[in-house]
């Protein structure tokens, strides 16, 4: 039994990828005992003991590296933790920074490097896109209202107003653009990015890079239906050759290591890179369901084994997300609150 800790077990209306990863691991050939890492005692994964064997509360990454490391070492001591698969944006920089130390303590992971992680910044997309031979929507970095006005005169409405790492709002008027500029600057700082809206199909590709320019499988999908929060509800597999080639070029160009997701807009033959996520997306179980068990392959890579690399999948497989209900005892909640674990 390999003890694997997985975070992002917050299967709520804006779900983390954790439960999808765990379902994949459980369906794989490597026997696993999944341990859930949670940032709140009410994260649903804690209560799903058929998926999550043991659950631990974590301190926030913002509280410092030492508490975070100590908590992981405590879990290591109690459970014999061997591998950790972090799945949330906010904790990734910490895990990347701690990777070698954790490894020295016997907790393995398979993560992008610091330099790779930095590629997700929106002001780096241009260079990534150029290097892998695709486009990006025209994007201007602005730091003042004057620059915003100049940028707006070059683009036509609507435009996207984006933070460097998070948040994207669609503005239809100069007044809206200005309002979003202020709110994003206040929350995420400068620069704020102003981006043209490219009409086309929003498509995504997920994969795991081997760190040497190859990969352990890719899957391309199109989101058919999204929720009001912009989260996938139904989707379909596609085999867009240009998209898959771009993903392979991306992995090769940067020798990407670990999980990633590219968000792309396809307009006829043209592809526009919109976002790079240095982790699994919340719909990662889709890959497992079509026979490309990326979570298991990532686990194998973390363990130093040679994972499978085949990634034939048919177009037209459907992904359906659905809600479910569970009735349980208050006791688990009590334990999480008083002991921080169950």
């Amino acid at each position: 039994m390999i003890k694997v800790a997985v975070s992002g077990i917050n299967a709520v209306d804006n779900p983390g990828p954790g439960l999808g990863i765990i379902k994949g691991l459980r369906q794989g050939k490597i026997p696993v005992a999944p341990i859930g890492l949670a940032y709140d005692a009410m994260e649903p994964g804690i209560y799903l003991d058929h998926l999550v064997e043991r659950a631990y509360l974590m301190p926030y990454p913002s509280e410092g590296e030492a508490p975070f490391l100590n908590r992981l070492l405590y879990i290591k001591e109690k459970e014999g933790l061997e591998v950790v698969i972090p799945a949330l944006d906010a904790e990734l920089p910490l895990f990347i920074d701690l990777e070698s130390r954790l490894s020295a303590y016997g907790i393995k992971s398979f993560l992008p490097t610091k330099e790779q992680f930095r590629l997700r910044a929106k002001d780096r997309l241009q260079e990534v896109a150029r290097r892998i031979g695709i486009k990006i929507p025209q994007t201007l970095a602005v730091t003042s209202i004057k620059e915003l006005e100049e940028a707006l005169s070059e683009l036509s409405f609507p435009v996207m107003i984006k933070g460097l790492f998070y948040k994207a709002l669609k503005a239809y008027t100069p007044a809206e653009a200005q309002q979003y500029f202020y709110s994003i600057a206040a929350e995420w700082g400068y620069p704020v990015l102003v981006q043209e809206v490219v009409e086309g199909e929003e498509v995504n590709v997920v994969g795991v890079g081997d760190g040497e320019g190859g990969h352990f499988g890719l899957l391309a999908i199109k989101k058919l239906w999204i929720t009001s929060l912009g989260k996938i509800w139904t989707g379909v597999t596609i085999t867009h050759s240009g998209l898959l080639k771009a993903a392979e070029d991306f992995v090769r160009a940067y020798a990407w290591r670990g999980a990633f997701e590219l968000e792309v807009i396809a307009q006829d033959e043209d592809l526009y890179l919109v976002e790079i996520n240095p982790r699994f997306p919340a719909w990662i179980y889709f890959a497992v369901g079509v026979g490309i068990n990326l979570p298991e392959r990532l686990l194998a890579a973390a363990l130093g084994q040679e994972p499978e690399r085949s990634w034939d999948y048919p177009a037209g497989k459907l992904y359906i997300r659905f809600t479910d209900d569970l009735v349980t005892e208050l006791e688990v909640f009590q334990h999480m609150v008083t002991r921080g674990e169950r």
């Binding site: 208050l330 909640f333 009590q334 609150v337 008083t338 002991r339």
Partner: protein, 80 residues
């Protein structure tokens, strides 16, 4: 008394079956809560705390009163 309805676990987890609210108390908080439920006065509780723990009676009394303030804020205690 509202305190009587609370489900109190030895781990310090408190559940109010009427409102659905949950609370946690620490070791001394648990003692104070139980003592209040048993009808002891704040000064009696302060003396008991001082007996068992490294604390003077006046300091303990101030803290018990602060604890009562919290209970009032949570609507778990009414001035009798």
């Amino acid at each position: 008394m509202k305190l009587n309805r609370l489900a109190i676990s030895e781990e310090g987890f408190i559940f109010d079956p009427e409102t659905g609210n949950s609370y946690t108390v620490n070791e001394t908080g648990l003692k104070v809560l139980k003592a209040l439920r048993a009808g002891q006065s704040p000064s009696e509780i302060a003396e008991a705390l001082s007996e068992e723990f490294e604390i003077s009676v006046p300091e303990a009394l101030r803290d018990v009163e602060e604890f009562l303030e919290s209970l009032k804020r949570f609507r778990l205690w009414e001035e009798s």
